[in-house]
């Protein structure tokens, strides 16, 4: 068939077929070896045998991601054939994804809202603290601590200059998290009594937020303690009892109030691979040996106060 310079000749067909044959040949000898049957992790007591090549899908909170990643590495190493996929998107996205069945586990910094509570099962895996972090400069590095009330004023837009809270004159630039962020919800509830943040630019990517805080003069935002950076000023709280620095000690005793549980929600009871993963996260092996190595997270067992 000859059309205007396009000659679909047999020769080209043969070449194309040869290429396909070569492709097929290389595909034939390429399947990765069948994975060893999944052995239950040492310290967990899973009864179900996880089928080979199964996946655990999770999405949601970015604050929880470092912990889930650490767990994923250890879990995948001892359970070849299971792969864990985690994606971010914010706590609210995690909750709606798991409720819709798009993922098996929804990571969230906040409790599920009432209309979803009925269908979701909560698994608390850790406690994480949050703090206000700001761009460090001569205008605020002398400030030892801020009271909760002042912090509320800064983030609601009532206070707009660092000099009003004890520093030098420099406008405060508030950078918010996205409305779907669990960090924003937790911080808002505890510090402001609700989502009463002043509307300003939003930056939801924690890594980019840290960079922005370093670059923008006078900027302040709120992050999980896992993202604390020596170049940023992490604020301690000033209360009647004195100055409370955020950390494991102050959080477990309840002196520092800005913390929340990290929830991993499943729709109904988890099955197979997801259950195995959650069991691993609850196991003593993980909680005592792996969790403390991940910056910013605290085992629930160490908490001396609880919260509803």
């Amino acid at each position: 068939m000859k059309v205007d310079g396009f000659e679909i000749k047999r020769g080209s067909m043969m070449l194309a077929l040869a290429a396909l044959a070569a492709l097929a040949a290389s595909a034939g000898c390429d399947k990765s070896e069948p994975p060893a049957p999944a052995a239950p992790p040492a310290a967990s007591s899973a009864e179900t045998v996880v089928p080979a090549n199964s996946t655990v899908s999770a999405s949601g909170s970015s604050a929880l991601q470092p912990l889930v990643n650490a767990a994923k590495e250890k879990f995948e190493a001892s359970n070849k054939g299971v792969s864990v996929e985690v994606s971010a998107g914010g706590s609210k996205k995690g909750l709606s994804d798991v409720a819709a069945g798009a993922v098996q586990i929804g990571d969230s910094d906040i409790f599920a809202p009432d209309d979803l509570k009925a269908q979701l099962v909560d698994h608390k895996v850790a406690v994480v603290g949050f703090a206000a972090m700001a761009n460090k400069g001569p205008f605020n590095e002398k400030i030892p601590a801020i009271s909760l009330a002042d912090m509320a004023k800064i983030f609601s837009g009532t206070v707009t200059n660092w000099k009003e809270v004890g520093g030098q004159s420099q406008p405060i630039v508030v950078i918010n998290r996205a409305p779907g962020s669990g960090t924003r919800s937790v911080f808002g509830t505890i510090v402001l009594g609700g989502d009463k943040f002043v509307e300003s630019q939003t930056e939801d990517n924690s890594g980019a937020l840290v960079t922005k805080l370093k670059q923008t003069k006078g900027a302040i935002s709120y992050l999980a303690l896992s993202f604390a950076d020596p170049e940023l000023l992490t604020f301690s709280l000033k209360s009647d009892a004195g100055v409370v620095a955020p950390g494991a000690d102050s959080i477990t005793t309840g002196m520092y109030p800005i913390w929340s549980y990290e929830h991993m929600y499943t729709k109904g009871e988890p099955t197979a691979a997801a259950k195995q993963f959650l069991d691993y996260l609850a196991s003593a092996d993980f909680q005592e040996h792996v969790l403390p190595t991940v910056k910013g997270f605290i085992p629930i067992t160490q908490m001396k106060v609880t919260r509803e």
Binding site: K92, P179, Q201, T202
Partner: protein, 315 residues
Amino acid sequence: MSNGTLIAEAGGAGERLRLAGRPRLGEALIRGALIACGWFVLGTTIAMLGFLARTGIQGLSEVGFTTLFASDTWKPEAGSFGALALIVGTFASALGAVALGAAPAVLAAVWLTEFATEPVRRAYRRILEVASAVPSVVYGWLALVYLVPVFERLAHAIRGEDAPVTGEGLAAAAFLLAVMIAPTVLLLSLDALSRVPRPLRDASAALGASPWQTAFSVSVPYGWRGLLVATFFGFARAAGETMAVQMVIGGARRLPRDFFFSPTTTISAQIVMDMQEARPGTPENNVLYSMALVLLVVSVLVVLVTRMLARQQTR
């Protein structure tokens, strides 16, 4: 200009000429399949508009027309759905994009058509065709990394060191969108200007006009409708652009404090952000579809206007 009637007549003649016994079933089947393709196009368009309209109108009724368009507090989680900031953001960034990008594009197209040689035209076209096909997220990322810091310095230079301004905002978004739509507008303008009949130009030259006079007194006035259509296309594209704008506009759900250098949001950017966690059936979800309806109405209006302009030209 279809050959439909021809086939219908000649097809009849051809069918009469055919030898008896040739199967007619295959013919009818394939014709049916072709008509089905047409129905598929029509059907999916109607389905799309229908689904959107249904959910969108539901959202409008749940939220209230006036609240949506008059209030500027957009806090779905708190139940307030004032979309004024979104609408202003969309239109301001799109109009800014047209102001910044359409004029250079059209002028460049005029220069290319009237004063440039053919090889230059070809090479130019090549580069700009690639530029117009580059994904919008690439432009958005480039703007995020290289443009926003520049605008931040600019903002502080203009408004003062201590002013509460950021690089993200309408200025950055308008500039980014201008860069994105300029190739499109330029290519469309080239097409429009290429349709200016040669005899017209020759006549102008014969009457003693210089190339510049021919260009701006003859060609451009002749083809202005096509240029306007190109500009409208650019506006529609800028108004509908989602991901790139979302990266540089800042995401503050309010009218910008400082018009050029303060973060705000647009309709499509907000739809994408809120869609991530909106649950189907809730007012928060439905109102997003209402905003999409707004975009749809704007696009359809643009299409109608361009069609009207195109029709006038061929008269």
